[in-house]
């Protein structure tokens, strides 16, 4: 079986099947549609728990003093904001977007590149709102867009694992 349905919806005129992600196999696999493990679709709770574990595993280990935001002066902060603003977009017509903000934790490498971006745990409960999720994802795309390039910071404030706290708002 090529496709692993995890839900089907009768549309009256068509049968719709929600497709599981194609990418359960290793990245780079050239399988056309990778076969999914044969176990039954995970329940929502199992899935959530699994992802919580994954999330913990993926988060850079919190290093004491890794948050460099407070060490930056105003000019340095403004420069970073300018760099990130280049790709920062939102949907002005969405009902509540004008009042939303999302805080990201950016983890840098030794050259100042943004190695990863994650949503501040304080904002994560809001992600169950699809409109907020879409808003937050656009912030993540702005931060992880390769076009941002290395952040322009003095060398003494950059190290592998340095973190910055950045709040996106319209």
């Amino acid at each position: 079986m090529n496709h692993a349905p995890s839900a089907s919806i009768a549309l009256g005129m068509a049968l719709a099947v929600i497709l599981a992600p194609a990418a359960w196999a290793e990245p780079g696999s050239d399988a056309h549609v990778p076969a999914r493990p044969s176990e039954p679709p995970p329940s929502l709770e199992t899935t959530l728990e699994r992802l919580r574990q994954l999330n913990r595993a993926n988060q850079p280990a919190p290093v004491a003093g890794s948050d460099q935001t407070g060490r930056l002066d105003r000019a340095e902060q403004d420069r970073i904001a300018d760099q990130l603003r280049g790709g920062w977009t939102y949907d002005a017509g969405a009902a509540r977007n004008a009042r939303m903000t999302v805080t990201l934790l950016l983890t840098l490498d030794a050259d100042g590149n943004i190695r990863s971006a994650s949503i501040d745990p304080a904002d994560q409960p809001h992600l169950s709102d699809p409109a907020y999720r879409a808003f937050a994802e656009r912030a993540l795309r702005a931060a992880t867009n390769p076009r941002v390039g290395p952040l322009r910071l003095p060398k003494d404030k950059i190290f592998d694992g340095a973190q910055l706290r950045v709040r996106f708002r319209p």
Partner: protein, 458 residues
């Protein structure tokens, strides 16, 4: 939720479930933050002044498996591209820029899509299932983290391919923007032809993207102001059949029309109640017109008796209030009253006359036509009359109708005749985002007016 909580540049996030599975209900509320620090006092860099650029999306043709499926793959990708582009919220990337190909199903080479600036990628493939049955599979990918964020397969008949393309467009719209789409919808409108002094006005219907246009009446009588039933394939409209202008119900399945109620006066400006069991409309009287609630199964109740022109009533989506147009105060203004006709209160106080109020399906706004000395305008205000915004202004425009997600308005615009024979006059449909951008002409085979947007199809 790896794709959300952590969006690494490396592709380790590929081991993730579709986020569609993960929503847990929670209200979104948040405290105001002081500039420069978070609520917990941590320093934070503020990135503001977001642009409103559309999301760059790549939509390669869906991969077919020979025969009809090849053509279908191109056509479906074309319809999706057109839908997303016309929304103004997506920017489909020119396929000429694509690097490499997709096989329609497997994990794409994300570097190729990143390189052309795509943030979202839509892939799909089509298999014949024998006879005229096809299976259309599509996946939506978040390019930067390299994740599938949506995937659905539809088994349907060939003839349904357009609807499948619209449904897929809606899924993409909803997943990327967090609001319901409006592509699997139709628009009923009045098609106009011939000179204005003996204008032929026919009821017509088309898909929201102007395809599948059909004329529903033959033009032997004037047809005006159609509106969709909230759930059924039924339209309420004003018809001059037998020279007796009244509100009629038109059944889209059978093509039959039937007078609604039995009124001595002219009945006009119908709109269905949100529950679909009745129609609210006006009846002319010696001194103007009154508003009536008329049951589809019979029975009518008068809700206003002002001795003035009360017309164009429209329910709030929760059915508790009615906004309407009245000149009881001297000229045309908007009023809101309870669903039983009680407690009417004027809400429009700007410069000019206000007309054709229509409550947003989201409940948060009322769209209207405003008439000033030389121009007409389409605008929105909150139900209490505050926050008025004009979206479009011209020599003549009126009759806004809401897309079912409350995001887009369609209306019609007329140009002035440039001579005494009426040359230069035209009447066309226009749509605009409620943020006031992305104004677009809606193609129709003839002149057009009085658009009404359907709910999302069932």
């Amino acid at each position: 939720m790896t794709d959300l909580l952590s969006m690494p540049l490396r592709r380790r996030g590929l081991v993730a479930a579709s986020t569609a599975l993960l929503a847990a209900p929670a209200l979104w509320t948040r405290p105001a933050h002081a500039q420069g620090t978070t609520a917990t006092g941590s320093a934070v860099i503020d990135v503001d002044r977001a642009r409103t650029d559309p999301i760059p999306v790549a939509i390669p043709v869906f991969v077919g498996a020979g025969g009809d499926t090849e053509r279908l793959g191109r056509d479906i990708a074309g319809v999706i591209t057109n839908n997303l582009a016309r929304s103004g919220l997506f920017r489909p990337i020119d396929p000429a820029a694509f690097i490499g190909r997709t096989d329609g199903g497997a994990t794409p080479n994300f570097q190729n899509w990143k390189a052309i600036g795509a943030q979202a990628l839509v892939t799909g493939k089509i298999d014949s299932q024998g006879g005229d049955k096809v299976r259309v599979e599509f996946r939506l990918w978040d390019v930067l983290p390299g994740l599938q964020i949506q995937g659905t397969a539809y088994t349907t008949t060939l003839g349904n391919w357009r609807r499948i393309a619209h449904i897929i467009s809606d899924v993409i719209y909803e997943r990327m923007l967090g609001e319901k789409g409006y592509f699997d919808t139709r628009v009923v409108y009045i098609a106009g032809s011939g000179p204005r002094d003996r204008r032929v006005k026919r009821l017509a219907i088309m898909d929201q993207d102007s395809e599948n246009n059909r004329f529903l009446t033959d033009g032997g009588f004037l047809a005006l102001t159609p509106r969709f039933h909230p759930t059924r394939d039924q339209i309420a409209f004003m018809s001059y059949v037998n020279d007796k202008p009244r509100v009629y119900l038109f059944d889209l399945g059978t093509g039959r029309q039937q007078m609604l109620g039995n009124f001595p006066g002219i009945t006009l400006s119908p709109r269905f109640a949100p529950d679909g069991n009745s129609v609210i409309m006006a009846q002319t009287t010696a001194s103007g017109s009154d508003i009536y609630l008329v049951g589809l199964g019979g029975g009518a109740r008068r809700l206003t008796d002002s001795g003035a022109i009360d017309v164009s009533p429209c329910f709030s989506p929760d059915g508790t209030q009615i906004v309407f147009n009245s000149d009881r105060g001297g000229d045309q203004q908007l009023y809101v009253m309870g669903a039983d006709g009680s407690g009417s209160k004027r809400i429009s106080f700007g410069r000019g006359r206000y007309a054709t109020p229509v409550w947003s399906p989201r409940g948060d706004l009322i769209a209207f036509t405003r008439q000033s000395s030389d121009t007409f305008a389409i605008g929105v205000m909150r139900p209490d009359g505050s926050g008025e915004r004009i979206l479009s202004e011209s020599f003549f425009c009126e009759a806004p109708t809401w897309a079912p997600n409350g995001r887009v308005l369609m209306f019609y615009r007329e140009t002035a005749a440039r001579d005494s024979r009426g040359n230069g006059y035209s009447s066309r449909l226009v749509s605009i985002d409620i943020a006031g951008f992305n104004e677009r002409a809606i193609a129709t085979p003839t002149d057009a007016s009085d658009p009404a947007w359907s709910p999302l199809l069932q």
